[in-house]
């Protein structure tokens, strides 16, 4: 097995006491096209405990569709497990009035830590002006913005990333899925812009991507995200723990980078 005390400890015990985990990309609740055995409640928290996940940042599946309902539900979850679950405001630019109202939750004290934009679900390109209120709100508050980015997609592809990174320099953009499939452009973008980070969800399924990203933009620009419940926590962890990177890089990816990125008061 690879020479990694961290990996060995994880394999032997299922967790690592010296390396807590922050998962910056999770979802909550069931969804239309798939059966999720575990997606919410105590069952979710038990899995986080077993794997040593200290904190998750979570977008409720419902909020991708019905913002108000989904945010109300995730706010209850945050209240139930304060400090353990942070919530994203899901911003649907097709309904600007509702979305603008929902952005106020960032200042509500209800544990909303950033904004989630899913351009492929909402079919609005990331550079569209309709996203401006969300990106400006995040920029003003120096909050993370979790962007679904998929390399071959019309709505979230690589030609859009640099533009928004430049336009909103204080927002901290997490490119979920690391621009899946367009690895060179994603790594270049993260290396070029201080406010761009690569989230590893789904990207970790491709052997060699983690190593490429570490070499190309540095481990300090990578964030651990599972897309839970779409991916099992241990599956995602296994991809990081068995990648050919240093334990120091693993610790940065799994915990330190996210700890530094997240606003302490939220």
């Amino acid at each position: 097995m690879i020479e990694s005390p961290l990996t060995r400890e994880f394999v032997q015990t299922g967790r690592c006491e010296s390396c807590p985990i922050i998962d910056v990309h999770t979802h909550y609740g069931p969804y239309a096209g798939i059966y999720f055995p575990v997606h919410s409640g105590e069952a979710l928290i038990r899995r986080l405990d077993r794997a040593g996940v200290r904190r998750i940042l979570c977008a409720h599946h419902t909020a991708l569709l019905d913002m108000r309902r989904g945010h109300d539900e995730i706010a209850r979850v945050v209240r139930r497990w304060p400090g353990r679950v942070g919530a994203y405001v899901c911003y649907n630019p097709n309904y600007p009035d509702v979305a603008a109202e929902e952005l106020k939750r960032l200042d509500s004290g209800d544990g909303f830590v950033g904004v989630k934009c899913h351009a492929d679900t909402h079919e609005v390109r990331l550079t569209d002006e309709r996203y401006a209120p969300a990106f400006e709100a995040a920029s003003q508050r120096a909050l993370p913005v979790l962007l679904h980015t998929w390399g071959l997609a019309r709505w979230s592809g690589p030609e859009l990333w640099a533009e928004i990174a430049q336009r909103y320099p204080r927002a901290r953009f997490i490119m979920a899925h690391a621009g899946f499939g367009r690895w060179d452009e994603a790594v270049t973008c993260a290396a070029r812009f201080e406010n761009v980070f690569l989230g590893l969800s789904a990207a970790f399924t491709i052997p060699g991507v983690i190593e490429k990203a570490v070499a190309g933009c540095g481990p300090e620009k990578l964030l651990f995200g599972t897309d839970h419940p779409w991916f099992d926590i241990w599956f995602a962890l296994g991809c990081v723990l068995f990648s050919r990177i240093s334990d120091e890089a693993r610790r940065m990816i799994l915990f330190r980078n996210a700890e530094r990125l997240l606003p302490a008061q939220r």
């Binding site: 299922g14 970790f204 399924t205 779409w230 068995f242």
Partner: protein, 251 residues
């Protein structure tokens, strides 16, 4: 979790596949190095030539490339014998026995084969009669259903299904066809292994990685971390595949 768990990957490959890879494993030695890094003991392998080149030549090449290895075992990739690229049904078992091959694979989309009706009928009848495990890739679940409607006792392992979770499609089939199995290589939903173990039993799940298209470490740690009895983990990790291969009657 125990470091003593032995992993036998039912779905790993090496050679130059058509899809570009950031970490290719051109040779058997390269694959073994990847397996070593992740603590995988053995693998039932596909050579890239079997899938993306000529399956007929690939079925010979894979045996040459793994000759002498105690950790790698080959499965032959099936084509319809009617084109002369695959042994006639009557010759299949003795030729497999002579070559030391105990399993068959199917890539029906890449190789443009019919799975239903008379397509592959002779080969499938042999697989059924002789309990030769058939590892099926690239298939839609309605094709699987149609295949098993005609031969419900076929020993079938559906590999790299999904991605993520296709449970709504395959769980009814697992209930109905007792010799249907699934691998873990693209079965990634949270808690999926635990839940599927409870629903269908650990004997229906085989450890697979889909390497080099997929990672080895992810499926490995997912099984390590699954909250299931050690006996179930061992079955999934290696014992089920060993059992299926041992049942093949090539006499």
């Amino acid at each position: 979790v125990s470091l003593a768990t032995e992993y036998f990957d039912c779905n790993a490959g090496f050679g130059w596949f058509a899809a570009p890879s950031l970490r290719p494993a051109p040779t058997a030695a390269d694959l073994l190095a990847e397996m070593d890094a992740c603590g995988i003991a053995r693998a039932l392998v596909t050579h890239a030539m079997q899938r993306d080149g000529s399956p007929e030549e690939g079925n010979r090449i894979v045996l040459d490339e793994i000759a002498g290895s105690e950790r790698l075992e080959a499965a032959w990739v099936v084509l319809p014998p009617e084109t002369g690229e695959f042994p006639p049904p009557a010759e299949l078992a003795p030729r497999m026995a002579a070559a030391g091959v105990r399993a068959l694979r199917l890539f029906p989309r890449t190789h443009r084969c019919l799975l239903t009706g008379e397509g592959l009928a002779g080969v499938l009848d042999q697989a059924l009669e002789r309990r030769i495990p058939l590892l099926l890739h690239e298939a839609e679940w309605d094709q699987v259903d149609a295949l098993l409607q005609r031969r419900p006792a076929l020993t079938l392992v559906v590999c790299a299904h999904g991605p993520k979770g296709d449970d709504r499609r395959f769980r009814p089939l697992l209930d109905h066809y007792q010799r249907l199995h699934v691998d873990t290589s693209r079965y990634e939903p949270a808690g999926g292994i635990e839940d599927l173990c409870r629903a269908a039993g650990p004997e229906r799940i085989l450890f697979g990685t889909n390497f080099p298209a997929g990672p080895i470490g992810g499926p490995r740690l997912m099984l390590d971390g699954a909250d299931i009895p050690e006996s179930a983990r061992s079955m999934i990790a290696s014992e089920n595949l060993d059992r299926l291969l041992a049942r093949a009657d090539l006499s």
